[in-house]
């Protein structure tokens, strides 16, 4: 079910500004890959190129290849809508749909895609909420608005919403940066469970988090403000945090940055 991602020679622009340059990497299926690096180095931009959300921003365009199990996401005739069904995304700030109940939020992906059977819907919702470790907290108030939940619950609701459509890959853009340590722990545990079923890519500013949850870690950096961000190295998380092969990575991780 989980799919491999192969990126080669990827460059992304905002209008005429080059945000990231010539990035190549492989993300193995059923693994967690963490992206670390300073602000503005293009981690989130790169993440958004993996499900064609980059082009939603005005002026956003991409050169290069992103292969999802040998199929180029930027190839001719590829429908970005179908790409996003295979590659789901969780955002930095929890963003449940304010007009919908908890149930409807989780069901939104299926319902609005029009590809579901009515009888299956409540099963899918229950399964997804259980998958996101939220079921026990909300099972008695599925018809209440999703925006009434706490921040950590909302973020898990967004994860449930994302996994309800059964994507192959799950992208997470700093999913814990707006959450307290306990909610963060809940989400980190959840990531550990989800990696059995999905390929997970997570952007984080928290290096302990990267060390805790990921199998592989990629370090991004930019030469100077205004320069495009580049992939410095990607390796096993243990190696990156104990014995990185590039000096810049070690400087960043040990706090001797800049």
């Amino acid at each position: 079910m989980a799919k491999r991602i192969d990126v080669s020679g990827l460059t992304a622009y905002y209008g005429s500004h080059k945000a990231i340059e010539d990035i190549s990497m492989t993300v193995e299926p059923r693994s967690v890959t963490a992206f670390i690096g300073p602000s503005g180095c293009g981690k989130s931009t790169f993440l958004r190129t993996l499900n064609r959300m980059h082009e939603v921003t005005s002026g956003g365009r991409v050169e290069g290849k992103v292969l999802l199990d040998d199929e180029d996401l930027y190839g001719q005739g590829i429908d970005p809508v179908s790409v996003r069904r295979e590659v789901g995304m969780v955002f930095q700030r929890p963003n449940p749909f304010p007009t919908m109940s908890i149930f409807d939020n989780v069901a939104a992906g299926l319902r609005l895609n029009g590809s579901y059977k009515k009888s299956e819907l409540s099963d899918v919702v229950e399964k997804s909420l259980k998958g996101a470790n939220l079921w026990n907290e909300v099972k008695d108030r599925l018809n209440k608005p999703g925006s009434g939940l706490s921040g950590g619950q909302q973020q898990r609701l967004c994860i449930a919403r994302a996994i309800a459509v059964e994507p192959k890959v799950l992208l997470m853009d700093e999913p814990c940066s707006a959450l307290d340590p306990i909610s963060t722990l809940a989400i980190e545990d959840l990531i550990g469970e989800l990696k059995e079923r999905f390929t997970i890519v997570i952007v984080t500013h928290n290096m302990q988090q990267a060390a805790r949850v990921s199998d592989r870690t990629a370090f991004f950096n930019l030469a100077a403000v205004g320069q495009p961000g580049k992939l410095i190295e990607i390796d096993e998380t243990e190696r990156i945090f104990s014995n990185p092969s590039v000096q810049a990575t070690e400087d960043y991780i040990s706090g001797r940055f800049g």
């Binding site: 749909f97 304010p98 939104a108 009434g148």
Partner: protein, 352 residues
Amino acid sequence: MSTAITEKRPSTLRGASLPKWSPYAIAVGSVALGLGISAAAGLDSSIQWALMAGVLFVLGTYVISARVEGRRQAKDRVATALVWVAFLLAVIPLVSLVWSTVSRGVKVLDFYFLTHSMGLVADSEPGGGIYHAILGSLEQVGLATVIAAPIGVLTAIYLVEYGRGKLAKAVTFFVDVMTGIPSIVAGLFILSIMLMFDMQPFGFAGSLALAILMMPVVVRSSEEMLKLVPNELREASLALGIPKWRTILKVVIPTSIGGITTGIMLAVARIAGETAPVLLLVWGNSLINSNPFEGAQQSLPLYIYQQYANSAGAGAAYDRAWAASLTLIAFVMILNLVARGIARWKAPKTGR
């Protein structure tokens, strides 16, 4: 303990201050003084003593406060006093308008008045009613809304969700231009088309002119409401693999529907009081005509105008004009209340 210890040093944090009731006292004093001066000088206009009282209030506040509390507090109090005077000045016309409309309007406003037309009643005689005008207003405004609201909302959706480049800029520019069209010009525009085809006045022609006036207002308000929808919601929906049109239909519009409805209702309230295009295109009619597509019709603002203009000072016609004005104000107010109700009902829920 000796009494020497109870002797306190003056606090550096607490200065002298006027008692809490002092602004009211100054207000009462300046009104009394204003009345006294105008009585002594033999001025009989209430505007003169009120203005005098206002000026005295501001000056008195400053002088008294500056002597007791110091200059900085005095400036603070003067600012507060100015705000109060400005508020009263703004409220006076509103209250007097509502008061005179209600007090003169209720004279003939009853069930009979609302359910009968002016069919067999001359403008100078008592009796008659505004049923034909209410019917005409409802039909004309209703048809105008049916035309303008969908076009306006769709235009706003285009501008916010899709519009890029020159076309969007041109549309925005022309919407701005349309906002400035005087109602009589919109009426003349439709009239020129009617004359080309040699048509007689009818209700729907008025609706068309009203729709022209309504459209830019709807576009503007809906645009602002759609812009308020956070981009994160659109991205969340797109990232679920939901196509853009369904994202707009199922996420963006439901989130902003309350504001859009309010905007439409306010636009309706605005065109409900338009007289000029109706005068040109619908002409007015003292009989009941429920068909907006054929024959002259009546409408409330036009009825008010005609009762005033054609009655040559007959008291009965004046009373009817005021009663119709009251009905029109009530109509607009009900629309506003309905809009607020819908906005509250449809607003994104935050309850737990």
